[in-house]
Amino acid sequence: MFYREAGDFKTSYQDDNQTFPIKFDRYRYYAVLFAAFAVIPFLVNDYWVNAIFLPFLIYSIAAIGLNILVGYCGQVSLGTGGFMAVGAYAVYKLMTAFPDVSFAIHVVLAGGVTAIVGVMFGLPSLRIKGFYLAVATLAAQFFLVWLFNRVPWFYNYSASGQINAPVRTVFGVEVTGPTAEPWAVYLFCLVFLTLCAIIARNLTRGSVGRKWMAIRDMDIAAEIIGVNPLTAKLSAFAVSSFFVGISGALFFGVYLGAVEVGEAFGINKSFLVLFMIIIGGLGSIFGSFAGAAFLVLLPVLLKNVLVSGLGWPTDLAAHLEFMIVGGLIVTFLILEPHGLAQLWRVAKEKLRLWPFPH
């Protein structure tokens, strides 16, 4: 009834090219932005920020990054954890070396460093595809974790081998360290997520995005219509790693505060982010959000239901939680292989006709 494009005429190609061409979608988007920026910061407490919002925001950035590489450009990567570690260690070195510079600048620079590393590990993609490329990126994962474990320079020769985020501020407000206010860290990550999502959307609707998708769908045809595979693939690796690096920097600096590389950025992290984009929907920005929300919220929800609701012992609940999440992922992939984003699309198609059947 209210969700349709009828009567919403576009008179210029600019109007037709916008991210939310349907009016209802556009207002919904503004409403979500308003709630995220102006309402939630006043309501959140420590538990909500640390258990739900921070992981959701940070994993969303990582998922958007990986989705650009896997979903848009078709290059499978299992090195996400390793690239997040690059972001984390880059931001740590920058924080300790230049304590007076704003932390926001450090995060962006850490993304840049990760982009360079990502391009280097993306070079094999020019010769190999599919599973073989996945194995090559797996090598990146193990190599990077090994590197940060073994070379003391990266963790400033600390005795424990861990890295700890010192207190840093942005515009005079603490965003890292144990004393940072929940609303401040929430807003800080939200700003990064919003910017990353907008940039990702802009890139994927323009000519860069079309080059990536052309390579994904049929690389030989892409080359014959004039796409240089070298620049297309490496730019996907660069942009993707940039986002993943930012998420790694925030994960370490803002969320965890102290990191042991093998634990925080191991192969599990790579799989987790990959699951997020597969469940959310490959080749969809919305899918990155949906997948991150699904895998962050579901365990929290299950824990609340099982432990607080049904009063089960914590250890039993923890094990059941794994089984239920795993089972749900399998069921879900069988029922809807194209992910949550596809469900969302189908729902919108239905809404367009509602309340009429045809």
């Binding site: 052309a214 030989i220 219509i225």
Partner: protein, 273 residues
């Protein structure tokens, strides 16, 4: 021979054909011990429709792949606008203004019709990644300008109603048309069509033939095509190259080729007694 001396010719229906756009000189292409193309020379002139025909396995598609830079011949030269073309990657050939369609449709299935046609404009779009990330300035302007060009092509090929449909949902005949649209969107100097009518019924063939003639007529595009339907070839083309077992056995107007004994032998066989 320079372009100034060689003014071309006039076709039977009165179209002026210009100088040589592309010249193949003594091309030989081998795959290991198999000789796919043996010492073939021919030229394609500005504004003409040039057909390449021959029985299966004659090397026609290989020839098209040589022109589009996908195969590198062991011997011979490819001259584009009178200049010897150095060894190039396929995407560099595309940037020179050579577009093609494929025998088996090679569209980007995950994208909409409009996005597929827009990929044809990629060689003309050069805004920086920074400008695109912000979607301001050149990126936005360029997107709209190229959209207008694509919409003209979409209009021309009568596929307006499916512009936002994902390509994977389209029937075969329309996919062929979208592929032609994508090739045309790049405003090619030379358009290569690899069996544009394969697998179509009579009506679809008529539609496609009309589009090919219209493209040639309205945009003045030079076209080289491979086709098995002799009726179509004889009606559409100005000059025909005939290949058999990698060798050129005939070259000339449709009438000349039709009466060429070697061509008749290749198609109908030779009696052995």
């Amino acid at each position: 021979m320079t372009l100034a001396e060689d003014m071309g010719y006039t076709t039977a229906d009165g179209r002026k054909i210009g100088g040589v756009v592309m010249e193949m000189k003594n091309i030989t292409l081998r795959f290991g011990g198999v000789v796919a193309i043996k010492d073939i020379s021919f030229d394609i002139r500005e504004g003409e429709i040039r057909a390449i025909i021959g029985p299966n396995g004659a090397g026609k598609s290989s020839m098209l792949n040589v022109i589009s830079g996908f195969y590198v011949p062991q011997d011979g030269e490819v001259l584009f606008h009178g200049k010897k073309r150095p060894q190039m990657k396929p995407f560099e050939v595309a940037q020179q203004g050579i577009a093609r369609t494929f025998q088996n449709i090679a569209l980007f299935e995950g994208m909409s019709v409009l996005d597929n046609v827009m990929t044809g404009r990629l060689t003309h779009m050069n805004s920086s990644i920074w400008s695109q990330a912000l979607w301001k300035g050149k990126a936005e302007r360029e997107e709209v300008e190229n959209r207008e060009i694509c919409e003209r092509i979409i209009d021309f090929l009568e596929i307006q109603s499916i512009r936002k449909t994902p390509v994977a949902r389209l029937p075969y005949g329309l996919k062929k048309r979208v592929e032609l649209a994508r090739a045309l969107a790049s405003e090619p100097k030379l358009l290569l069509l690899d069996e544009p009518m394969a697998g179509m019924n009579v009506e679809e063939k008529e539609d496609m033939s009309r589009f090919i003639l219209d493209v040639n007529d309205e945009f003045g595009t030079t076209i080289a095509l491979i086709e098995h339907d002799m009726g179509v070839v004889m009606d559409l083309s100005d000059r025909v190259v005939v290949m058999d077992y990698g060798k050129k056995i005939g070259d000339g107007t449709p009438d000349e080729v039709r009466n060429n004994q070697a061509v008749i032998d290749a198609y109908l066989g030779v009696s052995h007694d």
